[in-house]
Amino acid sequence: MTGGHYIFWFVFVLMVIGLYAVISHGNLVKKLIGLNLFQIGVFMFYIALGKVEDGRAPIVEEGVEVYSHPLPHVLILTAIVVGVATTSLGLALAIRIYEAYGTIEEDEVIERDKAAEQDGTAELNGTAERDGVRGGEAGP
Amino acid sequence: MLAAAVIALLVAMALTLVRAFVGPRLYNRLLAINVFGTKTVLFISVVGVLSGRPYIFDIALLYALVNFVSTIAVLRLTHLDELLPSSDEGTAR
């Protein structure tokens, strides 16, 4: 059983590493990198399901009967491009968070939020964003 | 012979990867990644000949074309870019 499944074990380890990076790291960009790794794991899983021994790429030719399944390829092909689109969105949000809080560490962002809550929400209007940047960058 | 080429390329990939892991510093890693890209092109080409399908070479061709984009990106966005806007060091030389 293990012999026939070996590729899935690899895929699972990759997914576990990716998820670990997403959860345990506080840095938002690092989280996105972990998400990318997890994505690669999922892609591999789908493609491995479609693969068949001695098969060919699903481009029909004369005299060839065995092809890999095209459907996983279609799904993953679009998923890669969607993946880069979502990654870019995540990165854009990370940049905005950095500009607002002066950090992209999750813990520090949460701390700052808590501090802001204690100070009252009145401070958090248009000028607060700019002040946040200054405070974060010039702090020790 | 082709199988031997595949194995040689895999070995070379593994060695290059070790250099990419240990670094030290950005440039050593960049160099390793650059070399690794070439290895990937060769690997895909060998697989293409092994399986006798000409369209596999398209992928190797694409890699040969865009291989150095990421290297350039790092150079440009980390290093060159510090020189371009209102530079302090770039003009001193």
């Binding site: - | 012979m1 082709l2 031997a4 080429a5 040689a8 390329l9 070995v11 070379a12 990939m13 060695l15 290059t16 070790v18 250099r19 670094g23 030290p24 510093r25 950005l26 440039y27 050593n28 960049l30 160099l31 390793a32 650059n34 070399v35 890209g37 070439t38 290895k39 092109v41 060769l42 080409s45 060998v46 293409g48 000949v49 006798g52 000409p54 070479f57 398209d58 190797a60 061709l61 040969a64 074309l65 291989n67 150095f68 290297t71 350039i72 150079l75 290093h79 060159l80």
Partner: protein, 108 residues
């Protein structure tokens, strides 16, 4: 018959030489003491090894479609790989990557 044998031998020799260069380049990349010598090992053997390997493959390729693509791969690789290595070395020099080995203090 003899021609095909000759082609096989030639392609085998080219592939072997290419493999040797590629592996030795990788070993050099790993073992050499500092960045610049590593650049030397990496980029030189890369270009030469890739060319030899692709020539060897070219002799085995069936049909002009594969042949044209292999030639194109070779040409593009010969443009991009040394360019990247050159830009890298230049940037490293500019950035103050020093010659002696094992300087780890400058890490970011």
């Amino acid at each position: 018959m003899s021609l095909s044998l000759l082609i096989d031998i030639a392609s085998g020799a080219l592939l072997l030489a290419g493999c040797l260069l590629v592996v030795s380049g990788a070993v050099g990349l790993l073992r050499l003491p500092d960045f610049y010598t590593r650049t030397h090992a990496g980029s030189l053997t890369d270009a030469a090894g890739a060319t030899l390997l692709l020539l060897g493959l070219l002799l085995q390729a069936d049909g002009w479609q594969s042949g044209v693509r292999l030639v194109l791969i070779m040409l593009f690789l010969l443009v991009t790989s040394p360019t990247a290595a050159h830009a890298l070395a230049q940037a490293a020099r500019r950035d103050g990557e020093r010659l002696p080995a094992g300087d780890d203090e400058g890490r970011r």
